[in-house]
């Protein structure tokens, strides 16, 4: 890669990366989703136990009753308290983080985000009782909207409500208590007018939507924004594009997936949640691209699928420096941590390794998508795992033995892609090492010979 080309590429990409990494809204989305992550992981583990892919086990859980309900239903209570209401956590998280960005009260930020979102929500569920012909409507918080379907409106509500809160606060329209009043009491009075402002605005928004054909804001945002975005997200081209961008950023030393996640992660989460819901009711899984597809099949060992690189370094390279680095990095690599080689090899700003670093994830995505599309490998079931889950285990839990096998194949293929490039570097290092040795020096600089 010529230096001038690199400079040109950098000057084109940096403003985009800079914009995304400094954007208050995108930072809040990214950090808000991080709050819901541990809850979904733990919820997933329970989901996984009750759906572990061994039929006698599943039958046992479904057919054994405790206190009038099957064991399986107790497990699904956990799913109900995590996945089924995931948008609530996300709204709270984004409200909190956006309030932090706007430098206003964070807990009230969460509260108004939730409040405004609930204000727009139709608090009723329609259902047809057995034997009846007409649907009856009962007052309730609808599970339909607090799950993944309400997520995009939740994001919008969090931003708008905190913005109104901050606006009223900045105008100074607050009740100021005399000094001597405990600060928590003072804070709760200070929040009165800002909260009133939020309620008035969302009250009007709700009213306006009741005159539209959609009836409410949830229906509107879901149909107009979320469904189109999800279908854009659930496409091979988008996934390839997102990872291409992320990995070019990595090459310039920028945490690429951190940047793309702030835009792409909400879409992936919504897609995963739909898969999980389908899994629960035993329907075919609708989306190939989802959180697990990105986390468990696009790369192994961290960005650039560097586990393959490490294997190539460990088994096929002969220079001392690469062998040593391979030895140090392989254990963290199994858990998808690749910091030592990102900076140590280095991968950053290293044009030779950039080619396989960018190419390998593209090949992984392409092959995984094709094999899932033709049904050779089951689509990821939506169970969220920490990204540190080692490959093979993660593939098995998400897509059965076929998933584990696919991961093994892709890691091996990655070794083949990386091999010629790391060999080129290896040869250069071997030459350097031989030269140093011919000069009668050791490559290691000893600092033990120093006396004081």
């Amino acid at each position: 890669m010529k230096k001038s080309f690199m400079d040109k590429l950098e000057s084109k990409l940096m403003p985009v990366a800079q914009y995304i990494s400094k954007n208050k809204y995108l930072i809040s989305i990214r950090d808000g989703f991080l709050i819901s992550m541990p809850l979904l992981v733990v919820g997933s583990i329970f989901m996984l136990i009750s759906n572990f892919p061994i039929q006698p086990w599943i039958d046992f859980l479904r057919n054994t009753n405790i206190g009038g309900a099957s064991i399986a239903s107790y497990f699904s209570n956990v799913t109900d308290a995590t996945f089924s209401i995931m948008s609530i956590f996300v709204v709270v998280g984004i409200g909190y983080n956006y309030a932090k960005q706007e430098k206003t009260n964070m807990i009230f930020g969460s509260a108004v985000a939730l409040l405004s979102w609930f204000l727009l929500m139709p608090f009723s569920t329609s259902f047809i009782p057995e034997g009846a012909t007409e649907a009856i409507t009962v007052p309730s918080i609808p599970l339909e909207w607090v799950g993944s379907k309400g997520i995009f409106l939740g994001i919008l509500c969090a931003f708008l409500s905190v913005k109104i809160y901050k606006f009223v606060e900045d105008k100074g329209w607050t009740i100021k208590m005399p000094s001597g009043v405990p600060p928590t009491v003072g804070q709760s009075f200070a929040a009165l007018f800002p909260i009133t402002g939020v309620i008035i605005v969302f009250f009007i928004i709700r009213l306006i939507f009741s005159f539209t054909p959609w009836g409410n804001a949830f229906e509107f945002i879901y149909k107009i924004l979320q469904v189109p975005l999800q279908s854009v997200g659930d496409s091979l081209g988008t996934m390839l594009g997102v990872y291409l961008f992320a990995h070019i950023l990595w090459f310039f030393g920028i945490h690429g997936t951190n940047i793309t996640d702030s835009v792409f992660r909400p879409i992936l989460y919504a897609l995963s949640a739909e898969n999980l819901r389908a899994l629960e009711v035993g329907q075919p899984l609708p989306h190939i691209i989802n959180t697990q597809f990105q986390d468990l099949f696009a790369t192994f060992g961290g960005a650039g699928s560097t586990l393959s690189l490490l294997i190539a370094m460990f088994f096929f390279c002969r220079s001392k420096r690469i062998k040593e680095l391979g030895k140090i990095s392989i254990v963290p690599g199994i858990f998808n941590i690749n910091e030592p080689i990102i900076f140590g090899l280095p991968i950053v700003l290293n044009p030779i390794i950039a080619i396989p670093f960018i190419l390998t994830p593209m090949v992984n995505i392409l092959i995984s998508w094709i094999t899932m599309n033709i049904g050779l490998v089951p689509i990821c079931n939506g169970v969220i795992m920490p990204w540190t889950t080692p490959p093979i285990i993660s593939g098995f839990l998400s897509s059965g033995w076929q998933g584990a096998l696919l991961q093994v194949f892709l890691i091996a293929l990655g070794v083949v892609i990386y091999y010629p490039f790391i060999k080129t570097i290896d040869k250069q290092y071997l030459k350097d090492e031989a030269e140093v040795e011919a000069d009668g020096n050791d490559e290691d600089v000893s600092l033990d010979d120093l006396t004081f």
Partner: protein, 174 residues
Amino acid sequence: MIKIIAIYDQIQSGMGTKDDKMLALGGKNVPIGPSIMMEPYLKDINAKVVACLYCGTETYLRDKETVSKKLCEKVQKLHPDVVICGPAFNYKDYAQMCAEITDSISLSTDVPAIASMSAENQEIIEKYKDRIYIVKCPKKGDVGLNSTLSNLCKAAKLLADNADSAGDIKQYCF
């Protein structure tokens, strides 16, 4: 040809992860880590990294005096034209090590030295910015590493040329 020595921690040297803080003091007489990333800019200023010394951050913090003495003595012995400590990004311990070592080298040897770290290390920067050159660098994973490496090389050249260039170097620094 300008001869440069770089001083790294366990991560930048590629000798370990952030948990391998107790990495023993050591060195390589070939470029490693960021020295390899800097290669195109080194060519521009006709420079070469002749040695990379490294030390785990905890190894340093537990016995600053010995580590610092050994590094200074080695620098004096190898006598490069300039020493670069960093880039330390937002790694706090490594940033502290960079600033202190740069200071020691400037005081106890006749070799000029520069440090590099990100603005997150505010306390360290405040304490040292008037005594040593600290080239600005982004935090880990943020935008601007490429231009930092270029600036580090430009600053290194100005220092090595030994002209009265403090003003020119300052434009890259805190």
